[in-house]
Symmetry: none
Amino acid sequence: MKERLYIYDTTLRDGQQTQGVQFSTPEKMQIAAVLDGLGVDYIEGGWPGANPTDSEFFDARPKLKATFAAFGMTKRAGMSAENDDVLAAVMNAGTQAVCLVGKTHDFHVETALGITLEANTENISRSLAYLVAQGREALFDAEHFFDGYKANPAYALETVKAAFDAGARWVVLCDTNGGTLPAEIGEITAAVIGAGIPGDHLGIHTHNDTENAVAGSLAAIDAGARQVQGTLNGLGERCGNANLTTLIPTLLLKEPYASRFETGIAVEKLSGLTQASRLLDDILNRVPVKQAPYVGASAFAHKAGLHASAILKDPTTYEHVAPEVVGNSRIIPMSNQAGQSNLRRRLSEAGLSVEKGDPALGRILDVIKAREADGYSYDTAQASFELLAREELGLRERFFEVERYRVISERRRNARGHLVVESEAVVTVQLPSGEKRTSFFKNEHAQEMSDDGPVNALWQALKQDLGPYQSLIDDVRLVDFKVRITNGGTEAVTRVIIDFEDDAGRRWATVGVSANIVDASFEALLEALNWKLTHDGAVRAV
Amino acid sequence: MKERLYIYDTTLRDGQQTQGVQFSTPEKMQIAAVLDGLGVDYIEGGWPGANPTDSEFFDARPKLKATFAAFGMTKRAGMSAENDDVLAAVMNAGTQAVCLVGKTHDFHVETALGITLEANTENISRSLAYLVAQGREALFDAEHFFDGYKANPAYALETVKAAFDAGARWVVLCDTNGGTLPAEIGEITAAVIGAGIPGDHLGIHTHNDTENAVAGSLAAIDAGARQVQGTLNGLGERCGNANLTTLIPTLLLKEPYASRFETGIAVEKLSGLTQASRLLDDILNRVPVKQAPYVGASAFAHKAGLHASAILKDPTTYEHVAPEVVGNSRIIPMSNQAGQSNLRRRLSEAGLSVEKGDPALGRILDVIKAREADGYSYDTAQASFELLAREELGLRERFFEVERYRVISERRRNARGHLVVESEAVVTVQLPSGEKRTSFFKNEHAQEMSDDGPVNALWQALKQDLGPYQSLIDDVRLVDFKVRITNGGTEAVTRVIIDFEDDAGRRWATVGVSANIVDASFEALLEALNWKLTHDGAVRAV
């Protein structure tokens, strides 16, 4: 018989405290739906009354399988719970659960609130009792509990016992400043259980200021706590909260937790975890963290040559869980660290099957090494890697040649005396038939356009008229552009990596290198079109 | 009497296993100097012989206070340590310390190596004995030790005892796949000590696949290990290694570690930690992780209203350590006090003395916030910051105006049929006298020039003829150029940061932002000339 462990998500409340994060109501609805689909037990939506977005979200009354929770604070001194208008706004959201934060650290009661310890304890007790009387599931967020316990254990325990005795379903021990290390969290959680609050009424809420938010949560669970709070992608105040994107698969897949606990999340649901994480990044317009545990693009990337060759024999040699279980995938990047087994693996991912011992493998590795020394990088630019390999394997088709391009960027005053920035480009290609085609593009209304730069102008001109290939490249879109100055031999050169996508939902990346940033970009643009034509089965149009 | 705890850095070896990371030799030299300045005990430089860059770095023989270590693997079966050419390449690097990785998990010995358990133990024993006989400090990286111990504790212990008995100064327990949770790492480390390898000969090497690399390291130290391995900014294979940027301040500042241990790093050195972390990101052209513990831009950002008001009363209310101790700073969005004193300090560094309470301080902060929201960054671009402040203080001189620029980049075939890439630029400026001057620059022999790009052409044209100011700008040289795609509001924009120097040995940096990379660069070039004219006392030439 497994014990029940509850997952409490606070992405929409503490996650919104992340610097630079401000969710709109539709975004909150979207995130809540993702969390609910995953199966978390509680979704905390925000603080009704604290700001217009939070109020609007509660007014929208999202329909959830999870228990919906509103956040607020314990009533203020000198008034009853019934008469506290801040608390009233929280109650009016009408959620099944209400979580109130209160002080447990004597220093904060005296410094931040400026009231007596007794008055604070009474505020907690009365507020929680009021929630219970109103028929709500009552939670108490014990702010600064660990620091408070270290400073004055008797008082800290008095506050949480007051909440529990008043009927709180959960007392949540918060490491608000994020400075408590896991061993200490474990010991103090055990002490609270020893003082009479059962573990199945205790929650843990940690922050990542020492990179131990996940470990601190596990330490509290080891000690007996049965609710864990966190956020998707570890959003949250300062360094963030405990990262549920990491905690959830750890609790579901790894021992001793997998055998011991049951949560509201079915193991099969984990296959949607990577997508959920990326969706949140999309909403926030953030570049996903490549090295994120479980869900990062690099989480199952095996770069060391020794690792890659063993992975080919048995993936468990260098993977603690299987990537597909969390909806992620394995990557064997190409680099000068890697040997032939990496290379064969990567070629087969590109649909190119090459026998072990084929001399082309050595040639491809040599070309890659030489080009990496020139400043190229093929870890992410898989499409450029594939074209390079096709070249050495005699499998590269030449669809068209670029005769010439010319790009102009200009800043000037227009007829009305306004400063304008414009770019224009002309590209001439020669088709296999010998026919030449010239295309022109200009940003006519530069100041209103989001991309008035030379690379965009070149791209628009290049893909405007490729004759017989046109229908195959019409749906190619440029989605990301990365530039860095690097060393090519002894000279500084510009490396450009560009991501593309098409209507079939494919994404591919190419790389270009040159001392000239425009020329480096052009190389990457050209490779992208060649890759697309290769994959869509274009036949060389003679 | 404090116990000695050793910090072993592997940024240049395991850190280089990060997907997308490829250090050049000058970059390795620069990172090694930063690590050495910080005071880590060991710097592992790479694997001599495994790839050209690593070999070149060891050939350069960096001068370090730290113990310099080369990485390699134990000798292969069927040959002596003396006759193994892979091991010979490692020895030939001539480092004081050598760290050899070897198998400890029976499954890997049989699956990946395909040799008997006895042969593997002998490889370990002979290899380590060989290092010792050659007078090197010998380290054994016990690969997959925790997984190996769980599968076959007797064999795993046999391998590490073989290394220890052969004279290894350190046996490093590696959680290679990153799947072992902290509690288990602690228990198994204690078991190894119980089996006869003293803690002051044990190291710990963890990976972040469950976000527990820091916690696992602490658990091993708690159990008795006295060497900890990691990387700056947590670089490393897959999800990265234990993050030394987090571990170092935790070990030096927080209990029980601060009172118990002494490391090679003085507490005062921590004030350089944030800068060291950012420097590594600069080298990698990565956007620094805002939520990184201790060193992230958000690590001491207090967004919640309740937090911010308490922070103003006493910063310890919501901070586990003081930001200045790690070279970071506090951010209170929408606030002022801390902001203004920071600002006054930075202005005085630029030679601008502004009284406390001057309303210009608030205006400058507002402009900086607005421009940062547009994508600007003033962390390194001190010259652009100074010009912005001078503008608000009414101390900015207008030396000349740019009427127009136009830049062309072209790829074409020349008369002899060779492909050439060329750029040309024309710039028109108006002097205060009303006189207009137009300058032109073209790369005539593009293929032989190191910089045939549009930004260089613009720079050459711009500084060719500035009339009365010409003698003051003749010695300005462009020394570094960084490009990053970032967010300006909701649009992706290009941010360019350029470093300059002059014959007086001054160096300064400016920033430009635009959707157009050429225009962003031009803005930074222009600011650089303005800064130089301001500082060389140019008088507006009417």
